[in-house]
């Protein structure tokens, strides 16, 4: 028993050392920084609750949360809706299924930088492909990234395009786990396709649904490259994401203490959001 204890500890040492240095210590240090002003160059100075007071009155802090919520409200339903359709569609065919699945999944593996650069051009107001298509069919152009009310929805749309493949394959795996007998029995009872979909497919995909919602939420709060490259957080701060705001405060303005306080509060919000989602979705 004692020997195995030593072996277990020895094998775990790399992780323990790693976790102490790169998880536990930063965790405590983040709390320390909340109460300090620090530009990263000089020594930190104690300022009590000034960072917190500032945060409570910081319009941009609230704005960045609202932006993330807007992103999620568009991104999550759209993603689930499309991924479900794709998954059901792919599940019902045999020929070329692997090909379609691979194509839909492609944006998932590609760097967000690539996706962002390409979509920045697709979204271009004056000569972007999307607006060219719209004017071709006689519709007015859309100010995708330059209109304050459209910018975040545009980013959410792009994020859906990038990630829907992942959720499609997750749903597809879920669908393949549903026994065929369920559908056969329902068909004998004379159930329509829609009824089968709503009564069998959707409930049995529940756990996958929860997963998709939680992954999308975490993803939404991690938004960075997209606004960083496409909009710089504008117009009118409409695409200022929480991580971009932390980045700006820390590395543009040199307020590491305040940025750390922001990070702390955002982390708490994310944890709460995920907890609430778990509760709600799992009891349903």
């Amino acid at each position: 028993m004692k020997r195995t204890g030593k072996i277990g500890l020895a094998l775990s040492t790399p992780y323990i050392l790693y976790a102490l240095t790169f998880v536990v210590f930063p965790l405590f240090f983040s709390v320390y920084l909340i109460f300090h002003r620090w530009d990263g160059m000089s020594t930190p100075t104690w300022i009590g609750l000034k960072n917190v007071a500032r945060l409570v009155n910081d319009e941009l802090f609230y704005q960045s949360i609202l932006n993330t919520l807007l992103f999620l409200v568009i991104n999550i339903p759209l993603q689930i809706f499309l991924a479900l359709i794709f998954a059901v569609g792919l599940n019902s065919i045999k020929f070329l299924r692997g090909f379609f699945r691979a194509v839909y999944f492609m944006p998932v593996v590609v760097s967000g930088v690539v996706v962002t650069i390409v979509w920045l051009q697709l979204y271009s107001y004056d000569n972007g492909i999307l607006n060219n298509l719209l004017t071709m069919v006689g519709l007015p152009r859309v100010a995708w990234l330059v209109s304050p009310s459209m910018a975040m929805p545009s980013i959410a749309l792009m994020a859906t395009w990038k990630n829907v493949g992942l959720y499609t394959v997750l749903f597809l795996a879920g669908l393949q786990g549903i026994p065929a007998e369920f559908y056969e029995a329902a068909t004998i009872d004379g159930a329509s396709f829609a009824r089968k979909f709503l009564r069998i497919t959707v409930p049995l995909l529940g756990p996958t649904m929860t997963l998709v919602v939680i992954l999308s939420t975490i993803n939404g709060f991690s938004l960075f490259v997209e606004p960083f490259v496409m909009t710089g957080g504008g117009p009118l701060n409409a695409t200022l994401s929480s991580v971009l705001y932390i980045y700006n405060q820390a590395f543009s303005f040199g307020h590491l203490g305040y940025a750390s306080a922001l990070g702390f509060v955002f982390a708490v919000i994310i944890l709460l959001a995920v907890l609430v989602q778990r509760r709600v979705l799992e009891t349903e």
């Binding site: 277990g8 930063p26 920084l33 650069i117 298509l133 997963l211 982390a267």
Partner: protein, 273 residues
């Protein structure tokens, strides 16, 4: 009759979306070979084929160096995550010791921590260690992940104890048991952890932007972000697209050969994580 009609509709619909997913990539690829005035056109073919954009990219930024940096970082991180992750996973799955339960709980706890929490403190650590502007600054903080340990643990639990006992009787030490018996039996877990870790590292931009300032040490996605934002592309659209192509192609080539493994990895890591 009704059946064929619905099949045709289904394929039409799936193909339409497939075009929606493929077209932007094809447009990027073709745009990178077009002169600027042709880039914004819908068609994929231009009568003015040019390599100017690639010339510009290779002339302006050390892109090969960045490719190498990305490769060094992603490979090192993947290697350490697999080696150390499987060691710890084994200790938790196959060795009965007092700390195992606590450690597992701790691992699950750290998995719930959003990275926003430790981003700034982690940066200050890297500064303290003097590894800003150093690839170690990208490797060390990512050399292990809680998810990988848990995934290895889950998989190792399914390996029969008798195999491990047999190896021990043959005189294998624990490390040899892990790397000669357990890990070879766990290819799916290794592939999953390997692919996810490699991709995460390869595609990361935020952390390199924070840690690396020297352009010769930048990773590929970072260098390209800086290239596009920093104005070195001098608004040459084609050059921006050429840079994106260079960033996307390595992963897409690997993906086209091993897409099955990629997808499987994401599914299993998603479901388990």
């Amino acid at each position: 009759m009704k059946k064929t009609l619905s099949a045709v509709l289904k394929y039409f619909f799936l193909t339409a979306f497939a075009v929606g997913f493929l077209y932007p990539f094809l447009w990027m690829l073709s745009g990178s070979f077009k002169p600027d005035f042709d880039v914004m056109k819908l068609g994929l073919f231009s009568s003015h084929f040019t390599l100017f954009n690639y010339d510009l990219v290779f002339g302006r930024i050390p892109i090969l160096r960045a490719f190498l940096n990305s490769l060094i970082v992603a490979m090192s991180v993947t290697a350490t995550v697999i080696v150390f992750g499987s060691m710890v996973g084994y200790a938790l799955a196959k060795i009965k010791w007092k700390g195992a339960g606590t450690l597992t709980v701790f691992l699950l706890f750290t998995m719930t921590l959003p990275f926003q929490l430790t981003l700034i403190p982690l940066y200050t650590m890297v500064v303290k260690f003097g590894i800003t502007d150093n690839l170690l600054g990208l490797i060390l903080p990512n050399m292990l992940t809680a998810v990988s340990v848990i995934m290895f643990r889950q998989f190792f639990v399914t390996i029969p104890d008798s195999l491990i006992e047999a190896a021990r009787i043959d005189g294998c030490g624990e490390l040899r048991v892990i790397f000669n018996v357990v890990v070879p039996l766990s290819k799916p877990a290794v592939v999953t952890v390997g692919i996810i870790t490699f991709l995460t590292s390869w595609n990361d931009v935020l952390w390199p932007l924070i840690v690396i300032r020297n352009r010769y040490l930048m990773t590929l996605p970072q260098l390209i972000t800086v290239f596009v934002l920093g104005g070195q592309a001098e608004s040459h659209l084609g050059a921006e697209l050429a840079a994106s192509v260079l960033l996307a192609v390595p992963i897409l080539v690997i993906y086209s050969f091993f897409q099955r493994y990629f997808i499987q990895s994401f599914v299993s890591s998603g479901v388990k994580g």
